[in-house]
Amino acid sequence: MSVILPLAVKFALACFALSMLCALIRLLRGPAAQDRILALDTLYINGMLTILTLGIGFGAAIYFDIALLIALFGFVGSAAMAKFLLRGEVIEP
């Protein structure tokens, strides 16, 4: 019927790729460790949105599960690294 939806999917994918590039530059040259963790946090959110947009573009439901898993484990990783910066160890006795 219309070509507007594939165009919007391509535009959103280009935007997510550019923002992942920005986060990668901040990850590589961040002055402190907390800047790198913040960049990694942004990177996994952008990767999850990329997977969701690919799922919209291909019309497949399996991409949703991958996005959910990325959201779960990305939060665990970011929280563990922030806790490590805060206390010096992740799981305190």
Partner: protein, 103 residues
């Protein structure tokens, strides 16, 4: 039913939401790249991770509901999860930055 067969009254709002989500995420990540101090940088990507993710998830709900011809709302799981976990990460990072600057 394919992606190009989606009727126009669903395709237009979904395309608008996708474009808005992409632009918001891009602006948030540019702020992460451009701002000067860490305390200015920590608030920029939250725009992408709340409003941008919300836009893309609502577009995904619309399109998968239209493609499968039944209500599909399991994308709300990701929305709720992100809304729960983004403040926790931000709070832990902010406390870590403050305690590292004090030392």
């Amino acid at each position: 039913m394919n992606l190009v067969d989606v009727p126009l009254w669903v395709a237009l709002p979904a395309a608008f939401l996708l474009v808005c989500g992409g632009l918001l995420t891009l602006v948030g990540s540019l702020g992460l790249l451009r701002f000067k101090s860490f305390y200015a940088r920590i608030h920029a990507p939250t725009m992408g991770s709340t409003l941008g993710a919300g836009c893309v998830l609502v577009a995904s709900i619309l399109i998968s509901t239209m493609l499968e011809q039944r209500p599909v709302i399991h994308e709300l799981l990701i929305t709720v999860f992100i809304l729960l976990t983004a403040p926790i990460t931000a709070m832990l990072l902010m406390r870590a930055a403050m305690s590292r600057e004090r030392d």
